[in-house]
């Protein structure tokens, strides 16, 4: 394996190279980088790679210190459809 194939987002298997190229091509924010590549959008909810995706974004948001760049949204743990629908146990 070469460093090009190094995975950053384990859940979606998004590579370092893919993120570098996307950040370079679109000169994008962390959020745009996430949406374009799916890095941080997998099963774990970005808990593992969010800081890395943040670091790789080429444009820093102006309010970066006072606001997390990648938004947190519920559910912060996956929920099964059955539980969401309130099935009988």
């Amino acid at each position: 394996m070469t460093e090009d194939k190094m995975i950053v987002c384990r859940c979606e298997e998004v590579t370092y190279k893919e993120l570098l190229e996307t950040a370079d091509k679109y000169d994008c924010s962390a959020r745009e980088l996430k949406l374009r590549t799916r890095a941080g959008m997998g099963y774990c909810g970005g808990r593992t790679c969010r800081n890395m995706v943040d670091k790789m974004a080429s444009t820093m948001e102006s309010n970066k210190r006072t606001q997390t760049t990648l938004k947190y949204q519920p559910p912060i743990r996956p929920i099964r459809f059955g539980d969401l629908g309130g099935h009988e146990k």
């Binding site: 384990r10 859940c11 298997e13 099963y43 774990c44 808990r47 593992t48 996956p78």
Partner: protein, 112 residues
């Protein structure tokens, strides 16, 4: 090969000895009742717990405390249980998922 730390210079001798039986991918193993499935499987030398849905690459525990979901397995038919958080019970049936078919072509390059 025994991966269990039965004696420890500071923590002392292991106190638990209530071994129960379970299966993982149809093979029988023994582990300690109420220890996490991940510990029971590792003690038996099992590292691969699942296969990545799309690429099929082997995956095992990563964070071991429920954050990364890498160790998710099917337990008694219930999908996506974290092996690092689920206490082992007698007769548990644990299974890995398989790589999923991906019949849809990735069109993203053509859409640029």
């Amino acid at each position: 090969m025994n991966r269990r730390i039965l004696d420890h210079p500071i923590l002392g001798k292991a106190k638990e000895d209530n071994y129960v039986s379970f299966t993982f991918n149809h093979q029988s193993y023994k582990g300690l009742k109420n220890e996490p499935l991940a510990a029971a499987l590792l003690a038996n030398g099992v590292r691969t717990l699942r296969y990545h849905e799309e690429s099929g690459s082997c995956r095992g525990i990563y964070c071991n405390i429920g954050h990364c979901f890498e160790c998710r397995v099917t337990v008694n038919g219930k999908q996506a249980e974290r092996a690092c958080l689920t206490p082992l019970q007698d007769g548990m049936v644990i299974e890995s998922n398989e790589k999923l078919p991906t019949p849809v072509k990735d069109w993203s390059a053509e859409h640029e």
